[in-house]
């Protein structure tokens, strides 16, 4: 949030209400998706669905509560590097899929 922006308490209250309703909807959607019938929806599909909803929920929280929709270039630069290295970390994991530790039964 820019330090020079004026702050209005009531507009923040409305923003918080929106974020809370969005969070409750996201949680409800994730729970609903997790209980979809197994014969029509496989676990990988359900996991993908649930993670998409979780990502949307995270974007709302980061955007509105952490003010990422109106931050300074410096913060975006730090986040850009973070996303790059995080993506690299996950890519290395995917790359190592066929080399996972043996004996991890459950």
């Amino acid at each position: 949030m820019s330090e020079s922006h004026p702050v209005d308490f009531n507009s923040y209250l409305r923003r918080c209400l929106f974020v809370f309703i969005a969070a409750v909807c996201a949680v409800s959607l994730m729970i609903w998706a997790s209980y979809l019938p197994q014969d029509h929806f496989s676990w990988p599909l359900k996991v993908a669905l649930i993670l998409i909803v979780a990502c949307c929920n995270a974007l709302v929280v980061a955007g509105f509560l952490m003010h990422l929709i109106s931050e300074k270039k410096m913060v975006y630069t730090v986040l850009g590097f973070t996303v790059f290295f995080f993506a690299g970390l996950l890519a290395l994991t995917v790359w190592a899929m066929h080399d996972f530790p043996a004996g991890t039964t459950h």
Binding site: M1, E3, V7, D8, F9, Y12, L13, C16, V19, F20, A23, V24, A26, V27, M30, I31, A33, S34, Y35, Q38, W43, K46, V47, I50, L51, V53, A54, N57, A58, V61, A62, L65, M66, K72, K73, M74, V75, V78, L79, F81, T82, F85, F86, L89, L90, L92, T93, A96, M97, F100, P101, A102, T104, T105, H106
Partner: protein
């Protein structure tokens, strides 16, 4: 000596130094949790079977709502400082602390529930699974059920109306007995590691918020802008902790 740019933005970055610091710290935290999530993906993909329905979704949902509410009260505490309403700040930060305490209490209950849950392998090949009610030198009593194969314990979501009876097992019939601690299997090791680290973050954040609510609020009288910046920085950390839970909840409780 006065620390530079603790209150006003530094000209080249456009933000005060503590905010740059917290974002760099959060970047390192993303990599910490990212490494653990990567470990989770690797171990889960490599597993032949994965447990479903082992955790209480109602309690997990309650904790998700509690953290979402606490993120909101943290933000409103900062807004109250910005508009100069210190009374509201105290109220919202007290709410955050109470919500954090509620989260930790629920998490503690869940841990306790897992630690008194036992899988007991019997000499006749059967497995008794349930919560320990009592134990003495001769026998162990659990509230649970018998199964013939360990695989019957994996997908609890697919099983409707699991019978729960009081079972008294003489110790002479017990081949091995293990509770659902982190040593039980890969899933529980990941569950305790991820949620334990997250709970430590909740505890750390609560200590900082508690300090700002208690002894640290003296700064408000001498330098309100500096104090407001401290509240914002602690709030950013708290929102990050909420963000981590947004992914932990579905990954551990729902999938």
């Amino acid at each position: 000596m006065e620390i530079p740019y603790a209150v006003h933005p530094r000209p080249d970055t456009g933000i005060y130094n503590a905010k740059v610091g917290i974002w760099l710290f959060l970047a390192s935290e993303v990599m910490l949790f990212g490494g653990l999530f990567s470990g989770y993906v690797l171990l889960r993909v490599g597993a032949d079977q994965w447990p479903h329905g082992w955790l209480n979704v109602t309690l997990g949902t309650a904790n998700t709502i509690i953290l979402a509410l606490s993120a909101i009260t943290t933000l409103l505490a900062w807004v109250a400082c910005k508009v100069g309403q210190f009374g509201k700040f105290k109220f919202f930060h007290a709410c955050t602390l109470l919500l954090a305490l509620s989260f930790l209490c629920i998490k503690g209950y869940e841990y306790h529930d897992k630690l008194i849950h036992y899988e007991i392998k019997l000499t006749d090949g059967r497995i008794a699974d349930g919560h320990r009610i009592a134990s003495d030198a001769d026998s162990v009593t659990i509230e649970g059920r018998y199964v013939t194969d360990e695989s019957q314990l994996y997908d609890l979501r697919a099983q409707k109306n699991i019978p729960r009876d009081e079972i008294k097992i003489p110790r002479s019939q017990i081949k091995s007995m293990e509770n659902y601690g982190p040593w039980h299997n890969t899933y529980l090791a990941l569950y305790f590691t991820l949620t334990g680290l997250h709970a430590l973050h909740i505890l750390g954040g609560s200590i900082v918020i508690g300090y700002l609510w208690g002894p640290g609020r003296r700064l408000w009288k001498t330098d309100p802008q500096h104090f407001t910046n401290r509240v914002e920085v602690s709030g950013l950390f708290w929102h990050f902790v909420d963000l981590v839970w947004i992914f932990l909840f579905p990954v551990l409780y729902l999938t």
